[in-house]
Symmetry: C2
Amino acid sequence: MQIQTENDAFVTMLREVVDPQDLQIGADIPATALRDWSDERGGVPLALVQPRTTAQVSAVMALCHAHGQPVVPQGGMTGLAGGAVPSTGAVLLSLRNIAGVEELNDAAGLMTVGAGTPLQVIQEAAAENGLMFGLDLGARGSCQIGGNIATNAGGNRVIRYGMTRDLVLGLEVVLADGTILPMMNKMPKNNAALDLKHLFIGSEGRLGIITRAVLRLHPGVGGANTALIALSGFDAALKLLRHAQTALSGRVSAFEVLWNDYYRSVTTIGGVRAPLGAEFPLYALIDMQGADPDAEAPAFQAMLERAMESGWALDVLLAQSQSDVLDFWALRDNVAELQRSFSPMINFDISVPQSQIGDCVERIRADLAQKFPGLANLYFGHIGDSNLHILVGPTPADDPDGRQVEACVYDVTRSFGGSISAEHGIGLHKKPWLSYSRSEAELSVLRQLKDTLDPTGILNPGKVL
Amino acid sequence: MQIQTENDAFVTMLREVVDPQDLQIGADIPATALRDWSDERGGVPLALVQPRTTAQVSAVMALCHAHGQPVVPQGGMTGLAGGAVPSTGAVLLSLRNIAGVEELNDAAGLMTVGAGTPLQVIQEAAAENGLMFGLDLGARGSCQIGGNIATNAGGNRVIRYGMTRDLVLGLEVVLADGTILPMMNKMPKNNAALDLKHLFIGSEGRLGIITRAVLRLHPGVGGANTALIALSGFDAALKLLRHAQTALSGRVSAFEVLWNDYYRSVTTIGGVRAPLGAEFPLYALIDMQGADPDAEAPAFQAMLERAMESGWALDVLLAQSQSDVLDFWALRDNVAELQRSFSPMINFDISVPQSQIGDCVERIRADLAQKFPGLANLYFGHIGDSNLHILVGPTPADDPDGRQVEACVYDVTRSFGGSISAEHGIGLHKKPWLSYSRSEAELSVLRQLKDTLDPTGILNPGKVL
């Protein structure tokens, strides 16, 4: 039982650098640390540590580095790619105890937070000060900002506020060997040499552990003008988007497109009320947030009228109440019932150059129909951000893990120069397909960076590459 | 004369990988390749090569890598930090022959260009298609997009459109050893592993050579609403900015603040008309670009009226004509005459957390007054982006290179957690001060990245670090 003894000895050392209540082993490790929101299963971890300070994170990492001990950083465990599930024998390092708003600078519109702070706490703190944090996604109550940054999370408002990357001014990171890298920049402009924080945003815990962040806030919003629009096809969707962004000076805060097959399914099987008839090829859900939505309503309505006159819109429903807004958004958000009906289902998250999304949908649809007759495939997405989601299911009996279905979709994605992951990251789930979206030269540089910043390979081993 | 012989042999090899007319040596190297817009002087270069294709850049780099031959990448030579001036014996690699718009995708709002394309060509191509490229700076006619990207250029519109980094979707880069790194991504969302392009944006030619880029375009603008506003102090400027951004839903496209000393100088020595009296502590120049400025005028004026009512603005002049707009902007732009009057002058480009800029100005003013009585120091800047410019001069006779003046300004900058370079970069000019804005841990990672991507240290040696 030498291995057991070695593990015991290592755990004893860990106990010396974190408080006793912040270390669990074996059956005491809570189930929430073992799985994320994907179907990916990890291995059996050695321990869970939940340090309370950056210095403790540094001490844990120095110890793990010295002993070649693998470490899996964890946030709110809401990822969809298995990026934070345990690897066998790993130390799970949760940031949940380094949480809270340290500073909210009202005048400058920035906030300093611990990595374990839930997204919703950040959103609410901003709103209480008449500001807003531009990141929003379904997991807002559970996900943590450190995880959002480590995966460069996207979500509902990217078209207006950008990805998480665009909302981060500064970071504090602990490197694999325990070195603390202080980059808590508070300035939108800082060209004093290369901006190193971008090494860690979207690195999925492979190059360092994010412990604190300085976030950029936006002007507060009091509501939105919202409309559901029937379209003749994808070209009309692009024309409408271009028209709306020009007429509204870039204030469009959501532009979601639903293909007819998705719209039919969500308004029948999905149980959502159909505000417009189901006979249109495409539907767009568009909104424009603002501090004073009533004052901005005339510009929004004028934009829609012009879209009707120009033939880009076949029909328009303007939300007249909060109830309308919820109804319209339910079309986009209530996919849970669909997922049950078509289970086991794959939810694809690809991106394709915007002008080619329409063609890409047709190609994927045709290829799936040929290879997997009768398989449901439903299309919707954040088209303003080039992001297409596809629900496909139930996976065929002779392809239980969906690999052949994935190959079919990703073959087409690759042929359009698209990405196998728009916003969910790679983790374990998309690791087999990474070469579809990255060249060998890029993979080589990724490996070199890993070797440079984590020479013993202890940070989140087995993920991404 | 062994060295001469070795050089001759190397030049002979270079001739084999580029066209004869694209290689110059000795006195044939044009003076424009020897200096940028800073006062930094470089050494005597070995040769100037101006490849016409990425493959030629790759061949040049492979050759230089194999022979340990230093290379200085060059764009339009408009930099203000000496980042592209020759080092002794270096091969100057100009991108000017890899130029032009390869693709302008109207629907998606993106453009593919060669690195040598002048910024103004890009701006005009976008405008011809009803779109706009968000980067704008004084050197627009001469600077090249490759240099803008390599230095992460800022400029006049950062508050609305971001830095150059925010306008780049994809890059093609040639690494030090000649490897071509294809990252010509066209999607706003792409989380298929770490986004490697950020290693090269702002790297000042030290980690790779940018050969092509995919740029993001914004909705076209037809003009702007513009106003000049008198303020009681810096707190009022922050309140006005916050109010304007909220009321206009983030459409503010410039927010320039001029301190009284600057305003007095530019309207007397500078020869610019003073639209408002010179008795106010601070002045703000604000504009809001839009597709239809007339339609947006009521919102802009309502914002200004509310600012007057709330006491954030002491006086407001709304531009009534293009002539007014030019007059207002002349206050910000006509620094050439000031520079002549106070020559030799240092133009500082620092950034400081936005809410502390007012205090920082007072501290710098007090410290300069104490250490250098009678030295002129004038303050203005892109306050919406945390960026402060300071004109200081004439430099004292006993401090001819301005080092002691710089030390005084940068000491205060450091004490506020600011940056010695907001938008100009480090190059040669700010290299002695880099440790004021970057920790030893950060400098160590910068060195590791350099060793990893350019192990023989041939790319732009002696710059930045």
